[in-house]
């Protein structure tokens, strides 16, 4: 029947939407875990958007002055005032970790266990650095008197939204670091080489999806929290 032809259909061709959705057995030609991760990320997108919408609405509706992020998050390095510099560095760290993650996926599929695992560990390390810098940022803000419940620079929601959103993002990063560790360990120890797993390294891609998503969210936080 028609369904047998699906694989043949050109995947970039628009008709493939129809063939895929009208296929039997499965709709997406991807492993279960990957399909599930995508759907989860979709759900997570709604979470982060709701956070950002909440923050944005509060920011627009409050009549109090909103602090200028580029001043609040400035650092003085070698005597020069550098607005947002730490955030810029954090952004670069996270992007770099995304790059190493992408390579880990690649080596995973090639069956290069050592490289895949070490790249994952590097990714995790970058992630940890990111969280560390975030912690520094928090400490600095707290020292300056910003709290979730008060803010000497203006609108109260500034501190609250900042701690909540970066905190939730930071939790995602931390969870990702742990997730990376677990999978990297399994890659090294040959867990996926067992007969019933058949040397299948799609798990690395799945971790990767999650990790890139965390990076993705940061892009939006950067734009809407720091640059606005």
């Amino acid at each position: 029947m028609a369904q047998q032809g699906t694989a043949a259909a050109d995947k970039k061709h628009w008709d493939s939407i129809v063939t895929d959705w009208s296929a039997d057995k499965q709709t997406f030609q991807v492993p279960w875990g990957k399909a599930m991760m995508w759907i989860f990320l979709l759900s997570d997108t709604f979470i982060f958007t709701s956070f950002l919408v909440g923050y944005g609405h509060d920011r627009i509706s409050t009549a109090a002055a909103w602090p200028n992020a580029s001043e609040v998050f400035a650092l003085t390095i070698f005597g020069i005032d550098m607005p947002l510099i730490l955030i810029a560095i954090m952004t670069f760290v996270l992007i770099t970790s995304s790059g190493t993650m992408a390579m880990a996926v690649n080596y995973g599929y090639r069956g290069d266990r050592a490289r895949a695992a070490s790249l994952m560990l590097i990714t995790a390390a970058f992630g940890a650095i990111f969280v560390g810098m975030q912690a520094f940022e928090w400490t600095k803000l707290i020292e300056e008197g910003v709290r979730p419940w008060e803010n000497p620079f203006g609108a109260e929601q500034f501190g609250a939204a900042f701690f909540m959103i970066t905190g939730f993002h930071g939790l995602h990063v931390s969870a990702g670091v742990i997730y990376l560790f677990i999978v990297a360990r399994r890659v090294i120890t040959g867990y996926y080489e067992k007969p019933e797993r058949k040397g299948n390294y799609e798990i690395v891609e799945i971790v990767g999806l999650y990790w890139h998503f965390v990076d993705l969210v940061w892009v939006f936080i950067f734009a809407f929290f720091y640059l606005w």
């Binding site: 709604f46 109090a64 400035a74 090639r110 998503f213 939006f220």
Partner: protein
């Protein structure tokens, strides 16, 4: 079938990596622009570009089948409604506040930096 999956030349990751660096540098740069449409336009443009590259290349969306792409990218459109309405709602709320309420106290800590 063990090694089947997303495999692309490594160079493409380096390219994207570089691009993302560049875009991030640019978006960092927008911070030095004056408030206004240009700045907002650039912030959003760069944001979308960065997000697009991460999704398309790092997350391999560009190589997925169209069915999956639309299944994932379609639903967030619903969020645009939420975002749009909440922006207007924010403006409306603020307008009533400015109209009728005494302005909130000035922040105390502005001597910072």
């Amino acid at each position: 079938m063990a090694t089947e999956g997303q495999q692309h030349p490594l160079s493409i990751y380096f390219w994207i990596w570089g691009l993302l660096f560049l875009f991030s540098a640019f978006s960092y740069g927008t911070d030095f622009l004056p408030e206004g449409l240009v700045r907002w336009g650039l912030i959003l443009l760069l944001m979308v570009l960065k997000a697009g590259f991460i999704i398309a290349i790092f997350m391999h969306m560009a190589w997925e089948r169209v069915a999956l792409i639309w299944a994932i990218l379609g639903p967030p459109v619903l969020l645009l409604f939420l975002i749009g309405f909440m922006v207007y709602e924010g403006d409306y709320t603020e307008a009533t506040r400015v109209d009728s309420f005494t302005a909130p106290p000035e922040p105390v800590g502005l001597e910072h930096h």
